[in-house]
């Protein structure tokens, strides 16, 4: 055996053993294999959600905060103004600003809120527009924050090996969540939906209304522009929700909240929720609550009033929410407040549930189809190419082993379409071998001896294989970029299969031929 063949054989054996070790451990076993090959949700069962963060919520909240801040600044500098309202998500219109203080107004904006552009219209009117780049940053931040908040919540609930990540580009507002093995979608949705938008707003008036119409009627049919009516989780006698009328602006949102925990009402010992605010929130909240002692503070989650306790005193960074909470209510609300410090609300774009039994069925069907395909192809090459068919069969098995090893090493996920990818790899793998074998037959027919026919064929076919594999890689790459979940798993299998096939078809198969040729007399033919 020549040195060249020996070196090649060592490479092949080492790579094979390494691959076997990678996907089935040492000693190789089915248990190890289950641990090392990641199964997709479609195979092991579980729940996948694609969430969309309503980033415009975050922009609106930012705009409302800016309005408050600018108002405070104007009052501090004794600049009179008419109204200041949010006309679009990222736009503020101010009217009736004292014309003699025009320069001061502009200075306040450019110094205190440089992220806004100022344009003036006639008669002391101004339009403030949030800069595009800044808006994009806020949107991105709100998605980042949502991801970390949801992660905290899910980890606190002890779901095993969840996946929580942004889906797509960094500018995407979608979040992909996977819970392998979780069977109860209601619980998962509860986890997600209670991670919702928190707002604390001052109630206008002294209590709730039995319906939205009643709320409007008390304002003469139409609510003033700076007020809105919101449903409550409290119910009236006939079961319909009560309504509160609250001030749109002048409240604080989830991002000002630092912490929330269950405590006791010092007056009667009932469960209550204490919360603390960060320094920004504390400053704002202090001045709001000071102005509104005696009024109701609405605690709003997802545009639903959770409770509306009376503000007994000015609150800085600490507060307590009291009411007729049970211990469980208080636990829940504290949890919602803590993790509900999301910058924006969230909707569900896609939900996929796969029961564990269906996943097991899919694995069984996929494995059956693979084995049948394998058997059919093996039978054919052994009959058609005789001894050389063994060569092709070895190359094909090695291809599968390397494919599985690479998938385990890369931590790639095997999905149901991925199994289809494995089956296709069997097909593509045998294609390369047929291409080479047919060429060898052709060269031998043309009168070449076996050794030179093999050499010429491998050299010639190598070019074809590079071209075909690269072209297939191009489409597989776009599939990978476009696909999510199962389809991505398919693309990954396909790409790895193409690369490992290039190795087995050219390197392994050629080495095997050279071994056979080395044992033969010069000029002796081969079985093909």
């Amino acid at each position: 055996m020549s040195k060249r063949i020996r070196t090649r054989l060592i490479v092949i054996v080492v790579l094979t053993l390494l691959s076997v070790y990678l996907f089935s451990g040492f000693p190789p076993s089915i248990e190890n294999m289950k641990k090392r090959i990641n199964l997709g949700l479609d195979l092991q069962g579980g729940i996948q959600l694609v969430l969309r963060v309503k980033t415009s919520d975050a922009i609106r909240a930012e705009t409302d905060q800016t309005i408050e801040s600018v108002k405070t600044q104007l009052q501090k500098e004794n600049i009179t103004f008419g109204e200041m309202t949010r006309t679009q998500d990222d736009q503020i219109t101010a009217t009736g600003v004292d014309p003699s203080k025009s320069a001061d107004f502009r200075r306040i904006i450019t110094e205190v809120h440089p992220e806004w552009d100022v344009a003036s219209s006639t008669g002391g009117g101004y339009t403030l527009q949030l800069k595009q780049a800044q808006a994009a940053t806020y949107r991105q931040q709100s998605v980042d924050q949502a991801i970390s908040t949801i992660s905290n919540r899910i980890n606190a609930l002890g779901v095993t090996e969840p996946t929580i990540q942004r889906r797509g580009a960094t500018t995407s507002d979608q979040i992909l969540i996977q819970f392998p093995g979780v069977k109860d979608p209601a619980r998962v949705e509860d986890i997600i939906q209670s991670t919702a938008l928190l707002e604390l707003k001052i109630v206008d008036g002294t209590g709730s209304f039995p319906s939205e119409e009643a709320a409007k009627a008390s304002y003469g049919g139409v609510l003033p522009g700076d007020l809105e009516s919101l449903p409550s989780i409290e119910r009236s006698a006939d079961g319909s929700p009560l309504y509160y009328v609250v001030h749109k602006t002048g409240g604080i949102t989830g991002r000002d909240l630092k912490n929330a925990y269950v405590s006791r009402d010092p007056n009667n010992g009932r469960p209550a929720i204490s919360f603390s605010l960060n320094s920004d929130g504390a400053k704002k909240f202090g001045s709001i609550t000071e102005r509104n002692v005696g009024k109701l503070l609405a605690i709003i989650l997802d545009n639903r009033v959770q409770s509306a306790p009376v503000l007994h005193e000015r609150i800085y960074d600490q507060g307590q929410i009291t009411g007729s909470f049970t211990q469980k209510d208080a636990d829940d609300l504290a949890l919602k407040l803590r993790s509900g410090a999301l910058p924006a609300s969230i909707s569900i774009d896609e939900e996929t549930i796969v029961g564990a039994s269906l996943g097991a069925d899919s694995i069984k069907a996929g494995v059956t189809a693979s084995l049948i395909a394998l058997a059919a192809v093996l039978a054919f090459v052994l009959i058609y190419y005789k001894a050389s068919g063994i060569n092709a069969a070895i190359a094909m098995f090695l291809n599968l082993i390397v494919l599985l090893g690479a998938m385990a090493y890369l931590g790639a996920t095997l999905t149901l379409p991925g199994i289809a990818g494995v089956i296709l790899t069997i097909g593509v793998g045998i294609d390369s071998n047929v291409l080479i074998f047919e060429r060898i037959r052709e060269e031998m027919r043309a009168g070449k001896n076996a050794a030179s026919a093999v050499l010429t064929s491998f050299n010639r076919v190598f070019i074809t294989l590079v071209d075909t594999h690269l072209a297939a890689l191009i489409s597989a790459t776009f599939l990978f970029l476009f696909g999510t979940g199962p389809v991505k798993g398919f693309a990954v299998t396909l790409v790895i299969g193409l690369v490992s096939n290039m190795f087995t078809a050219v390197f392994v198969s050629r080495t095997l031929f050279e071994i056979v040729l080395a044992r033969k007399e010069v000029g002796e033919s081969i079985s093909i």
Partner: protein
């Protein structure tokens, strides 16, 4: 030595008019079916809504009973279908497509699943039915996905065009991509004809076919490139014909073997992957056909249009170094 296709001398290129007629008929049939039906049968991922697979324990109700239960629960116009395993046995599994009103907002994505589950529990009792799988997609998402799928396919075609144009001549790239585009259209037409559902995995199958069919075409073109170098005096038509014939055994054998593997997938791979496997089965047949009957004749027609019928040079590409060195 068993040989099936040795020494075949078929005048493929001379039959190009027949092939073009076949292709046009296939395309027109698909188009008529599509026009008649108005649109493709999209999967839930492309149209939005909810599709569920539900298993009933004893006693298994029939489709009508389930429909009545769903209508009572507010899921009117739902489509219900019995599911069978690969052996054709019915084991109490149904597919339910929620047909009730879905509000236009994505907030209500999972509403269909909740209504169906509640309706089944109310009628048959909790625990009598088990959700095997459920897929819900928000109404605004489906359109996005459809657009992305089309873009991914076009980008893949573009990428392949550029690659082949760089390795051969631009006309070879154009002919190969045209042939593959033809395969995609014919496959889609057949999907419409058989009312097969088009979903994300079918798009995955189509993109795979793009790669596979180009594979076949490249093998032929590669041989054309080789033959052009050694037979400088022959005309393009005979070189194309000989190249197809020389690679024919390989083409038929590998297509046949790959066809066998996807046929196994179609027959035994289970119901979930069935549409994917169907696309592959159709696509491999069409792809093999087009690499012989569409791609090569196009190259000839181009060279005829240019006037001389002389070979179009292919040697835009340099041979890989490893091959030269040996």
């Amino acid at each position: 030595m068993i040989e099936l296709f040795n020494g075949i001398k078929v005048d493929w290129i001379g039959k190009r008019q027949l092939f073009f007629a076949i292709s046009i008929v296939l395309l027109v049939i698909g188009m008529i079916s599509l026009i008649q039906k108005g649109k493709f049968q999209y999967g839930v991922d492309f149209r939005g809504g909810t599709t569920m697979r539900v298993h009933f324990n004893d006693p298994v109700p029939n489709v009508d009973k389930i429909r009545q239960a769903l209508e009572k629960g507010g899921a009117t116009h739902s489509q219900i279908q019995e599911l069978r395993d690969p052996a054709g046995n019915f084991q109490g599994n149904f597919q339910i497509e929620y047909g009730g009103e879905t509000s236009a907002s994505d907030a209500a994505t999972t509403q269909g699943r909740k209504i169906v589950t509640a309706a089944l529990d109310a009628e048959f009792g909790a625990g009598k039915s088990e959700v095997l799988s459920s897929e819900s997609v928000g109404p605004s998402v489906g359109g996005d996905l459809r657009r992305q799928a089309v873009m991914a396919t076009l980008y893949a075609l573009g990428g392949i065009l550029v690659y082949i144009a760089l390795r051969f001549e631009w006309i070879y790239g154009a002919a190969a991509v045209f042939a593959v585009f033809h395969d995609t259209l014919v496959t889609l037409g057949i999907f419409s004809l058989f009312n097969k559902e088009i979903n994300l995995t079918v798009i995955a199958a189509l993109l795979t076919l793009v790669g596979y069919s180009v594979n076949d075409t490249i093998v032929v073109f590669d041989r054309v490139r080789e033959n052009l170098k050694i037979r400088r005096r022959d005309d393009l038509e005979s070189i194309l014909n000989d190249s197809i014939n020389q690679t024919l055994s390989r083409t038929i054998l590998t297509s046949g073997l790959t066809f066998l593997t996807v046929l196994a997938l179609f027959l035994f791979g289970g119901e979930i992957i069935n549409n994917f496997a169907f696309a592959m089965v159709i696509g491999i047949v069409v792809g093999t056909y087009s690499s012989i009957a569409v791609a090569s004749p196009l190259v000839l027609i181009y060279s005829k249009v240019r006037g001389q019928g002389k070979p179009v040079p292919t040697v835009a590409a340099k041979l890989p170094r490893t091959a030269k060195a040996r």
